[in-house]
Amino acid sequence: MSKILVVDDEKHIRLLYAEELEEEGYDVALASDGTGIGECIEKESPDVVVLDIKMVNSNGLDILQEIRNTYYNLPVILCSAYGSYKVDIKSIAADAYVVKSSDLTELKKKISQVLEAKIPEPG
């Protein structure tokens, strides 16, 4: 079973994601901000991180850089209520970007895509 780590400072969002993603058959871990993201990833060993951008105590784009410094191949999906962050050049380091919505169809599609993504080793 694939594990999704949801990092979002809004409790109701975390709970919504947990409920819907668990229904899809994913194992879900939750974090309320990006502080100590390294330890959190070590502890949870997620297959995908769903990362909010605008959080009270941290900026998702900075957290993304922190993740990339150590876990280069770990898929990260940026998730924000603000589409404007999509055009921030730093978001290029994410695997995907989803504008937050109560309908999680797009997020689920992206999770499934990043889990399927495969680049074979050269022969």
Partner: protein, 406 residues
């Protein structure tokens, strides 16, 4: 091909080399040369370095301007193809051989017509090569109408094929390791198109497929070089870039057929602060439309051979749109490119004729891109391009399903 060489300082070894390929760039080459020297001095001052101008025997005095450019203590070398031998790729081949001979660990290449290069570009392209990366491509802001071959073909196509998101696969400014230079010199995949403008996409594709660690590096400043109207300045570059993409597809089909979706490429040099915006690029929509319409009639018989009935019907429908409503849906464009790639494999039409027939459709796609992004900022156009890439990836099974039957 015997290269002509001038090495006034008798350089026999270098840790880092900056290469500047050129053909008739006397007006502009001094600036990137001086900036490269400042970059080498400031960021790689403890290493042996040299700047090499790899030229196509320019007749406008490029050699003299380069050799006389003030580079302080940084030595210079001039290498040229023999008289009559042109091609950017041929210049690179001379560079590959020379850097292998010099046992260089890192090579940075920058365009000779660059107006926005700073010493930091040398650091940004060179430093990752001393940090386990073997190939470095630039990340800079370009005007939405600059680099239309990149935006409409090279980036979405190579990304969907090989699964690597390299935003500027033919950016012209690169970094590569000495080991990769050696691999390039030994490669059997070299051909006529590669020796010309196919070189950039060839280098990127080979690096992607040979397991070379690749990164993209933020340059901070936009790429500002000799401006080109996408409607006017297509030239042979299109044929050579596209021809090289098609030929390499055949070589690496086992790899791309197994690749699904895409992944981001490592980023080096986050946090450069404010990103400067590039100057505008003019595009003449009327010319794009006229060239599309004219070519569409000329090559109709070739389209009938290359496309399925369904695609043919769709393209005919698109051709009936007037200029301001002109739109080429991305899925249709992706299938057009895939059908041409299949044609290149099957050789149902002579490849040169096929690429000639693709050019008007490319003009159509460029017009469609302009119409769609006209009111958008550069960043919004970038987001639009991201969506285009997603459609290419979703449409890829069309190609995979047909490739082995072709």
């Amino acid at each position: 091909m015997k290269a002509y060489e001038e090495n006034p300082d008798g350089i026999k070894k270098a840790d880092i080399v900056v290469g500047i390929p050129s053909y008739n760039e006397a007006d502009l080459i001094a600036y990137p040369t001086q900036q490269a020297a400042l970059g080498l001095k400031e960021y790689f001052g403890n290493m042996d370095s040299v700047i090499i101008n790899c030229d196509n025997n320019s007749t406008d005095g490029t050699r003299d301007v380069f050799m006389n450019a003030d580079t302080g203590a940084i030595p210079k070398m001039y290498i040229s193809t023999p008289e009559g031998v042109k091609g950017k790729g041929n210049n690179f081949r001379n560079l590959f051989k020379k850097v292998v001979e010099l046992e260089a660990r890192a090579i940075v290449v920058v365009d000779a017509d660059l107006k926005s290069i700073t010493p930091r570009w040398i650091k940004n392209l060179g430093e990752p090569l001393f940090n386990d990366f073997g190939y470095v491509t630039p990340l800079y802001v370009r005007h939405k109408y600059d680099g239309t071959i990149t935006n409409n073909i090279a980036y979405p196509f190579t990304r969907c094929l090989y699964g690597r998101r390299v935003r500027q696969p033919i950016g012209g400014d690169f970094g590569f390791s000495g080991r990769l230079a050696e691999l390039y010199t030994r490669s059997k995949l070299w051909d006529e198109d590669v020796s010309l403008f196919g070189i950039d996409i060839w280098m990127t594709t080979v690096a992607m497929n040979e397991g070379i660690p690749i990164c993209q590096t933020f340059m901070g400043r936009p790429k500002v070089h000799k401006p080109k109207d996408p409607a006017s300045d297509l030239g042979p570059m299109f044929r050579q870039v596209v021809g090289t993409i098609f030929k390499l597809m055949d070589e690496y089909h086992e790899h791309w057929e197994k690749t699904r979706w895409s992944k981001p490429t490592a980023i080096f040099g986050f946090g450069l602060g404010e990103v400067e915006m590039p100057p505008p690029v003019t595009v003449t929509k009327e010319k794009l439309y006229e060239k599309f319409r004219k070519g569409f009639s000329t090559y109709w018989d070739i389209y009938k051979v290359i496309f399925s009935g369904e695609s043919l019907q769709k393209i005919r429908e698109i051709a009936s749109l007037d200029m301001d409503r002109f739109e080429m849906p991305t899925a249709v464009w992706a299938k057009i490119l895939f059908d041409f790639a299949l044609c290149s494999k099957k050789q149902t039409v002579d490849i040169d004729k096929a690429i000639d027939a693709l050019i008007p459709l490319y003009y159509g796609m460029t017009l469609s891109f302009v119409n769609k992004t006209e009111g958008m900022s550069i960043q919004q156009a970038e987001e639009f391009l991201e969506d285009m890439c997603q459609v290419f990836e979703e449409t890829k099974p069309y190609l995979v399903d047909r490739w082995d039957q072709a």
